[in-house]
Symmetry: C3
Subunit: 155 residues, 3 copies
């Protein structure tokens, strides 16, 4: 296990583990948030979820689409589309042996941009706040990807 | 390659590889299952997929939303939202060097909960079976994430 | 950091890093492509995105579902459902120490199949071109998964 200890002890890897875990936990929080909005808006996708209804008509009425629920779900989907690529490319980037300060800059900017993105999406804040936070995340991941390709290119 | 051999030979890593592969394969099975429901229900999302129809009216009629297909797709989406975080955080957790028995407990509970979740979603079973299996998975991944953050925290 | 250097220097790992990065970047390109179609079709999902509209009626008219936008989004979703499993299982497969030529075959076939899949989905090409490229990707990932399970099985 000496090698594992070495990997997990490099500061860049520790930083990656920390920021990746934080941003994945943030993404996972979108599920309970969706559930919260489904219960408060009484809006469900499955008949078996409408147990709080008393009559069959009430049950059917709860099988609907609610704009607040859809907003949280779009935010969750945007997280999947952006945070997963960050984690994959960030891991490979970490293994290319970048400077600690450069790596920390990438990790912090990405995680910060995604936290602001969620706030901008859910409140919502006026555009272009959501578009800008989305783009910052995209550029950060692309910057790490370019280093992976420059260091590891083997076609 | 000595180091790679060491990593792949640690029992926790072997267990992680096994359970991660099994649960990702389970997730991948949702695609053929969606295709199966689309063909048996004759319900498609793209005009070019309706080749089995004989008349243009039949083609248009097949471009519809079917509740069984949507149920499988929601189950697939829930897998993406939960199994990917498990894989990411599970890998980092594995690298923190946990006890084999503790790690196996986490991996087995998570994979078991997701197998039951799929059964509960597709049949469907009455609630709260689906909610409970979902929550067990969420708690398991969160437990691994807390160990990663306690071991590797570097902000 | 000797071990990290060793890992990142094995040719199979370099090849995996390259192909995984390329195919994840391809997936990330679907977001700007969705934005492009949303702006050219004037079709948005959030009220705050309709800033280009002049009157409140125009804003409401832009909150609609467009078939071209939905097609790009389905393609993006299919990428998430297939490329992420490839990356996860491909990483574990890489760590099992496969032959370089066998590994390259898997990586190239998968990435090639997904590039063609996107072309087949967006143009669109007549079926079964999209179905075949999808299946090739599924079989490639399953082949890597079977090697992981045969090498690492630990239940």
């Amino acid at each position: 296990m000496a090698e594992l200890t070495h990997i997990i002890d490099s500061e860049v890897f520790l930083a990656f583990s920390t920021y990746a875990t934080i941003v994945v936990l943030k993404m996972m929080l979108m599920s309970p948030m969706t559930a919260y909005f489904r219960f408060t808006r009484k809006c469900f996708a499955n008949m078996e979820d409408t147990g709080m209804a008393k009559t069959p008509e009430d049950k059917k009425r709860m099988l609907r689409v609610d704009p607040d629920v859809e907003r949280v779900r779009r935010c969750h989907q945007n997280d999947l589309e952006n945070i997963i690529p960050f984690v994959v490319i960030g891991l490979l980037y970490t293994l290319t042996g970048p400077d600690l300060s450069t790596a920390l800059l990438h990790f912090r900017v990405f995680v910060g941009s995604r936290l602001f993105h969620t706030v901008a999406y859910i409140l919502p804040l006026p555009q272009p706040s959501r578009a800008v936070t989305f783009l910052i995340g995209l550029v950060t991941t692309s910057s790490m990807a370019s280093r992976v390709l420059m260091t590891a290119l083997y076609l």
